[in-house]
Symmetry: C3
Subunit: 341 residues, 3 copies
């Protein structure tokens, strides 16, 4: 679970021999009482010895977070819920509702197609969430039109969704452009900022269809509702462009930050080329491995601090402005857009 | 007008908190008699106090230009004409004719469709210009075929253009692939280098269709007529590739240079990866704000100088070669291709 | 032959005024007994004086190679064969069979369409090669489906190929998506790693269709057979992503490395963002000019060494890990995947 690979490397290839693997070996062993740069075998042995609960506690605490916004829609295995994560981190925890999961639950519950739209809308409207998440990039791709689908279109698509599930016996799986769009509009109507998975992710993401420029029509149409473009690598410059030219677009480079390890400062600097500093957020996209909460936060802090300090050193901006920008990106922008207290 | 955003930021987001905003605060206040890093409010007050004429004079002079090539085709508000700009800058000023504007003027003048092509050709041929500019990227996109349209095709498209204007009451607006191509060939036949808006621009540009690789067929077909790819970010590496493999292609990173502020050295270094040094030009793409003439020139000088000096320091090239390349990119390449005396 | 340009520059533009030209002038004159940074005229005079045989000998030796894997499919002029290259380099030399050339030879030999597939399969299976090379990117583009074509499809496409050659009198030229795919599967069935030209190349490559993300379906389908993505610039980050998420994908930045000259360290660092270190290979893609063997190897050694040493200096990894990674990328990965002794 260290990288986005779907399987271990072939013989002779270790996933520890990657930027994120080297970053883990540099920064994580000391949290478990080992020396930095421990060998993978020693690290795994120590990790097993401490046990998952203790390891989770240590890394979540080490991440020094004040608040967590957690997408709860992907739980292939037992995972901590937001309150559980928040307790470990000593932080407030908020939920982000995954839109496709709501639709799939409604479809699995045996609703009539004609009532699907109302039921989905009502559940999303009632969800105790600070934001919504769309994974259209993993399914239909990001080339979504800006037009609200009609009730008839949604009913038709919902019927197809349930028919497909019935005929295959598999759980319903939203992968229809109409439904992805419908779900985004449900979130907009519920007053929720909408997160979009963009770019880098596991191989199911089909990166070809994950360029944020494909999403431009929907981004324009949903303004002023906030659109949060997550991850973005290797299209982070394109994302920064959108954050500049569209008033409702916000960006981050979560997931890529820890995967790039020692190269993450270059990534952060590229994101900050066009994106207004009031539109850039921190995220880790940590999932599964507790180490990723720590690495995401640490590498982001180091990368952003280095970027800002370099500018101060070169006289490009003042230390007062640098501190202000750090506060915006590390906390204030997220608090404002998600409405966290 | 500081960035390419179509509107001010949403509450909590200031466009001064951007790379270009920080660059402005670093470099522009001293030109107006303030300390570097002045706060936005103080800067705007001082700017108003001096008045537009004095501010324009100071920044155009500070830019230290020898010659200006000015696209006159976009004038939503009162703007200085090339001679006026040249007087402020103490520089020779040349005109670049915007192709779509000529076509739209001809169409608005009530010509018959069958005479449209001849009238456009004749006006472009007679224009006192050193180059022509195509904004196909803003309208039909850059995927233009390399084939010259036939007279019948142009007549048909011109008829459509005028019919659309008549039926909507709006002024004619060229956005037809046939007409964009026709206009490029008019400029080629008139012996003018053709500038193409590529990549970064305001949100109307639809960056998806602004990748310079889309233009490759037309670029090949129009050789040896010079094709000038402007801006290019974030596709500047693709543009550099085209400048290497096609003998008639030239590139710049105007507009992006000042928008990237402290990051502009990285941009310039990336442009100079594949592009032959004899094919790279300086441009500011400054428009509206006088500050942008100064920032564009200053950041380009600093970025290129740093790039070249770094190579000398590392022993990668000699200081004599560095000075020669600086002269080519900052002046000689443009003088040669545009035929400036 | 210094760059990928199809012709000399227009008047006023020298291909020596490029990153690769400056790198050549820095590193190659001393190998011929001149001072570094020699002027192009002096360099060419000395080169002519020594003669091609001596120049080839000196640069191949200077490259300090242990083994060469040579694609023998493109020989527009007299070129050294792998044994000849190996003798000059003092290295073992292996052949990489170019798939499209085999198909074109079979087609030119007058086989019946119905026997084409068997004949091609049999020749590829019997070839004494360590790998196969596909140039689909130069012909049909990289958007190849993952499905094995049927015998009937191959027979139909082969018939078309031979018919086209017959009717035009030109030699057969494979540029049909079905045949490119068929050839890849022939190589997979023969147990050969398959190299794909990706991204940067001469202008025939049509870079639009050379993005490695287009190839994702075929890459998945052919697993676990190794797929070697060559060159990749400016899509090397996309290639690195594929190397991470797909177990059978390997990457290099050959050709771009020497063309970027003093900028090649930045390229290598970007490749090493997501690509696992066990999936990255060295290649030069040198062809024609003996200098390119030397420059490719030297710039790669400097770039990789600088990258690894920088990480050691920053404490990002240990010198032991740095040496291990250098050994993997410079030699062990290639030996393992190509099965070199």
């Amino acid at each position: 679970m260290l990288t986005e690979a779907e399987a271990a490397g072939p013989p002779g290839v270790s996933m520890f021999d990657t930027q994120v693997g080297f970053a883990l070996r540099r920064w994580c062993p000391p949290v478990l009482g080992l020396d930095a740069h421990a060998e993978p075998g020693d690290y795994l042995a120590r990790r097993a010895e401490l046990g998952a609960a203790e390891v989770n506690r240590r890394f979540l605490e080490a991440a020094r977070l004040n608040a967590l916004c957690v997408d709860t829609g992907y739980t292939p295995a037992a995972l901590l819920d937001p309150p559980g994560l928040g307790r470990l981190a000593g932080a407030a925890a908020y939920e982000v509702v995954r839109l496709e999961s709501v639709a799939e639950q409604v479809a699995a519950g045996g609703v009539e197609a004609a009532h699907f739209a109302d039921e989905v809308r009502s559940r999303i409207g009632a969800w105790d969430a600070v934001g919504a998440k769309s994974i259209a990039a993993y399914r239909a791709g990001l080339e979504l039109s800006g037009i609200r689908p009609s009730e008839a279109e949604v009913t038709g698509a919902a019927g197809q969704l349930m028919l497909a599930a019935e005929s295959t016996g598999a759980p319903p799986r939203v992968c229809d452009e109409i439904l992805h769009r419908f779900l985004v509009w449900c979130a907009v109507d519920a007053g929720l900022p909408v997160q979009f998975h963009v770019g880098y992710g596991d191989v199911d993401a089909d990166l070809r269809r994950g360029d944020p420029l494909l999403l431009i029509e929907l981004l324009r149409a949903m303004a002023p509702a906030p659109a949060m473009l997550l991850h973005n690598y290797p299209f982070h410059r394109q994302a920064g462009y959108l954050a500049q030219v569209l008033p409702n677009v916000y960006v981050d480079v979560g997931l890529a930050t820890h995967n790039l390890g020692h190269r993450s400062p270059a990534l952060i600097a590229e994101l900050l080329e066009l994106a207004p500093f009031g539109k850039v957020l921190y995220s880790s996209d940590a999932f599964g491995l507790a180490e990723l909460y720590h690495l995401g936060a640490l590498l982001f802090r180091h990368g952003l601090a280095g970027f800002l300090a370099g500018g101060v050193e070169d006289g490009a901006w003042t230390s007062r402005d640098a501190e202000r920008v750090a506060g915006m990106i590390a906390s204030a922008n997220a608090r404002r857009v998600y409405g966290l207290e």
